[in-house]
C-alpha cells in the first residue's frame, strides 16, 4: 500500500509531477552531458597513450602531455635504455604541434605524429582509406575524415603543407579526435623529423617494451637511475599526467565537473520543492495515517517511495534524452561518451538526489500533529 499511496499521491497532481520530472530530467541530462563530455575528453586525451603497445614511456623531464613533450630526447637516452636489463625494445616517437597550410589558403595547427608502425609501438588505427604502406610513400600522411573542413581538404590525394614541407593525404582515419582541436596527422618517423626540422636522432618519446616476465617497476627504477634529464613513466602515470594537464591545469575539467554539480544542485532543489509542496498538500492524509497508528517510519517510507518513483521515472526519461544527445554528438568535435558505469552512477545519483530532496518533506511530516485530524 505504501507504493500505491505514493504512486497515487504523485499522479494525483499531474502538473506538479511534470515539474518534478522536468527537474530530475534536466538534472540527469545536464549531468550526463557534462560527465559525457568529461569522459569524451578523457578518451580523446588518452587515446594515443592507450593505443600504444608499450609498458613504459621515456619522456623529457616534466613533459606535461602527449602533445607537449618537445623533441628533446636523443639516441643517447635510447642506447642507455636498450642496455637496461629487462628491456626488449625502445621505440622512438616524434610528436609536435605544427602549422598546416591549407591548399586553398589559410592555416591551422595539427599534431604531427611520427611513428614507424613496423616497430609495433604506435600506428594509426581506424584507417578507412589507405594503409600504412600508403603512408610510407613519398610525402604521404594520414588525416582524419572528421577534420576535413578544418584542414581545408576534401579527401585522399589532396595536398597541403606542414611547416616547410609538402604533404599528400594518402590515408584516412575515422573519428580519431583531438582534445586540443588540432587534428592528429600520422606520418613516418623520418618524415616527421624532416618536416619539423629535427635532427635524425631526436625523439619526443621512447616507448619501452619489456622482455616477457620482466618486473615493470624494477625496470622503471633502473631506467630512471640510468637516464639523466628524462622521466620514465608507466602508461597509467603518463595517462594520468595528460589528463591532469588538459582537464585540470587548463580548467576545462573543472568547468565540466562544475556544470555537473550545478545540474545536481538544480535538480535537487526542484525535486525538494515539489516533494515538499506535495507533502504539504497531503499533510492531512499523513496526519490521518498517524492517527490510525502508523509509525513515523511508515510515513517516511511513503515520502521516500514518492521520491523514489519520481527518481525512476525521471531517470528513464532523462537517460533516453541523454542517449539521443549522445547519438547526435557522435560526429561533432567533442563526442559525448556514456558508459554502463556512468549510466549506473547516474541512476544512483538520481536516487540519492531524490532521497536528499525528501529530507525537507520528512522534516515537515516529523512535526505533524495528529490532532489536526479533528480540526478539518
Amino acid at each position: 500500500m505504501i507504493l500505491t499511496l505514493a504512486f497515487r499521491n504523485l499522479f494525483h497532481d499531474r502538473i506538479r509531477l511534470a515539474v518534478t520530472l522536468v527537474g530530475i530530467l534536466f538534472s540527469i541530462v545536464l549531468v550526463a552531458i557534462q560527465l559525457g563530455m568529461y569522459l569524451g575528453s578523457s578518451k580523446m586525451i588518452t587515446a594515443m597513450i592507450e593505443k600504444s603497445n608499450s609498458d613504459l614511456w621515456i619522456t623529457t623531464f616534466g613533459a606535461k602531455s602527449f602533445e607537449e613533450g618537445g623533441i628533446l630526447l636523443t639516441s643517447r637516452e635510447r642506447h642507455q635504455a636498450l642496455a637496461t636489463p629487462g628491456v626488449k625494445a625502445v621505440i622512438p616517437l616524434v610528436v609536435a604541434f605544427a602549422e598546416w597550410r591549407k591548399p586553398g589558403g589559410g592555416s591551422t595547427r595539427v599534431v604531427l605524429v611520427g611513428t614507424d608502425a613496423e616497430d609495433g609501438a604506435l600506428e594509426p588505427w581506424a584507417l578507412v582509406a589507405g594503409d600504412w604502406e600508403d603512408i610510407k610513400s613519398p610525402d604521404a600522411i594520414s588525416a582524419d575524415d572528421t577534420y576535413f573542413r578544418e584542414l581545408g581538404i576534401e579527401g585522399l590525394n589532396d595536398t597541403a603543407q606542414i611547416a616547410n614541407g609538402r604533404v599528400k593525404v594518402k590515408a584516412l582515419t575515422h573519428r580519431i579526435r583531438s582534445f586540443t582541436q588540432s587534428p592528429y596527422v600520422f606520418t613516418t618517423l623520418t618524415r616527421a623529423r624532416n618536416l619539423l626540422g629535427a635532427d635524425s636522432d631526436k625523439a619526443t618519446f621512447y616507448l619501452v617494451q619489456l622482455e616477457p616476465g620482466a618486473n615493470a617497476e624494477a625496470v622503471r627504477q633502473e631506467l630512471t637511475a640510468r637516464i639523466d634529464g628524462a622521466e620514465v613513466l608507466t602508461k597509467a602515470e603518463f595517462r594520468d599526467r595528460s589528463l591532469r594537464q588538459w582537464l585540470f591545469r587548463t580548467g576545462a575539467g573543472l568547468a565540466l565537473i562544475g556544470g555537473a554539480l550545478l545540474g545536481i544542485m538544480v535538480g535537487t532543489v526542484i525535486v525538494a520543492q515539489t516533494l515538499y509542496s506535495s507533502t504539504k498538500d497531503h499533510l492531512n492524509e499523513f496526519a490521518t495515517l498517524r492517527a490510525l497508528g502508523s509509525s513515523s517510519g511508515y510515513i517516511y517510507r511513503v515520502i521516500l517511495a514518492q521520491a523514489g518513483l519520481s527518481a525512476v521515472i525521471g531517470y528513464l526519461l532523462g537517460i533516453l534524452i541523454s542517449l539521443g544527445i549522445l547519438y547526435l554528438s557522435r560526429n561533432t568535435p567533442l563526442p559525448l561518451v556514456m558508459t554502463p558505469g556512468l549510466a549506473a552512477s547516474l541512476f544512483g545519483l538520481t536516487l540519492f538526489m531524490s532521497a536528499i530532496s525528501a529530507i525537507s518533506a520528512i522534516i515537515k511530516v516529523t512535526k505533524i500533529d495528529p490532532a489536526m485530524v479533528f480540526n478539518r
Binding site: L5, R8, L289, F374
Partner: protein, 249 residues
C-alpha cells in the same frame, strides 16, 4: 461487572501558555466497557474533542491518568502511543478523512497495512468489512464518487477493519443528512453490540440519542452528568438498517 477497556482518571488538559492558556479539561473521570455505545455530549468548547483526543492517545494529558487495555499511557513516547492506537483504537472523523486518491477498498486496506496486515488476506478483510457496512457494491469507488453517508461508512469500515476493542468517533453525523446520520449511528450501535466493542461518539446531535446505551454530558471541561439508556439496539432505525443491509447483500 466488565472491566473497562479504556479509562481515565482526573484528567486535566491545559492548552496554550501564559496569559492565553485555557484549561480544556478540569479533572475528568470516564470508563468505557465493551459492548456499549457511549455518547459524549456537550456544547461547543466544552472539551469533548480534547477528551476524545486524549482517550485516543493523540493528545497527552497535562495531568491525570489514561489506561488502555490495562496499560497506563503516562510517559509513553509518540511511537509507543502510535503502537497503542494501532492495537486498540479505531477512529472515525467528522470529515471522514479518507484518502481521496485511494478507492474505498484501498482506504480500508491502508488501515490494515499500517498494522502490518498485507496482501490478499488484508484485501479480503477490507472487502468483508465494507460489505458489513453495506458498501459491497462500491469497493472500487473513489471518495469523490461516494455520498457523504457512504464516505462515513467507509470510514467506519476503516475503523473496525483491524478489530480494535475501542472505536472513537468525532461528530460522526455532523456532516450527514438525517437518513445518513441515522444509518451511521445504527452502524455504530451494531458494532458495539454485535462485535462487542466499546464505542464512544462525541456529538451534539440529539438525533443520535436513540442509539446510545449511555450518555455522558460534559460542560466547561467537566463531566456534569451521565445517564443509561435502555433501548440501545432496539431503536427502530437500527432494525431498518439491518433490513436494508441484508437486502443489499
Amino acid at each position: 461487572m466488565t472491566s473497562p477497556v479504556l479509562e481515565c482518571e482526573n484528567v486535566v488538559k491545559e492548552l496554550g501558555k501564559g496569559a492565553g492558556m485555557v484549561v480544556a479539561l478540569k479533572g475528568v473521570d470516564l470508563a468505557l466497557v465493551q459492548g456499549e455505545l457511549t455518547l459524549l455530549m456537550g456544547p461547543s468548547g466544552s472539551g469533548k474533542t480534547t477528551l476524545l483526543s486524549i482517550l485516543g492517545c493523540i493528545l497527552t494529558p497535562t495531568s491525570g491518568t489514561v489506561r488502555i487495555g490495562g496499560i497506563t499511557t503516562n510517559g509513553l513516547k509518540p511511537e509507543e502511543l502510535a503502537s497503542l492506537r494501532r492495537k486498540h483504537i479505531g477512529f472515525i472523523f467528522q470529515s471522514y478523512n479518507l484518502f481521496p486518491t485511494l478507492t474505498a477498498l484501498e482506504n480500508v486496506r491502508i488501515a490494515l497495512d499500517v498494522i502490518g496486515r498485507k496482501g490478499y488476506p488484508a484485501a479480503q478483510r477490507a472487502e468483508e468489512v465494507l460489505r458489513e457496512v453495506g458498501l459491497g457494491g462500491r469497493l472500487q469507488n473513489y471518495p469523490a464518487n461516494l455520498s457523504g453517508g457512504e464516505q462515513q461508512r467507509v470510514a467506519v469500515a476503516r475503523a473496525i477493519a483491524s478489530s480494535p476493542s475501542i472505536v472513537l468517533a468525532d461528530e460522526p453525523t455532523a456532516a450527514l443528512d438525517g437518513e445518513n446520520g441515522h444509518a451511521v449511528m445504527a452502524l455504530l450501535a451494531r458494532i458495539a453490540k454485535e462485535q462487542n466493542r466499546s464505542v464512544l461518539a462525541v456529538t451534539h446531535d440529539p438525533r443520535t440519542l436513540g442509539y446510545a446505551d449511555r450518555v455522558v454530558r460534559i460542560e466547561d471541561g467537566k463531566i456534569v452528568g451521565e445517564e443509561r439508556r435502555p433501548q440501545g439496539l432496539d431503536a427502530p432505525e437500527i432494525t431498518d438498517l439491518t433490513k436494508r443491509r441484508k437486502a443489499h447483500a
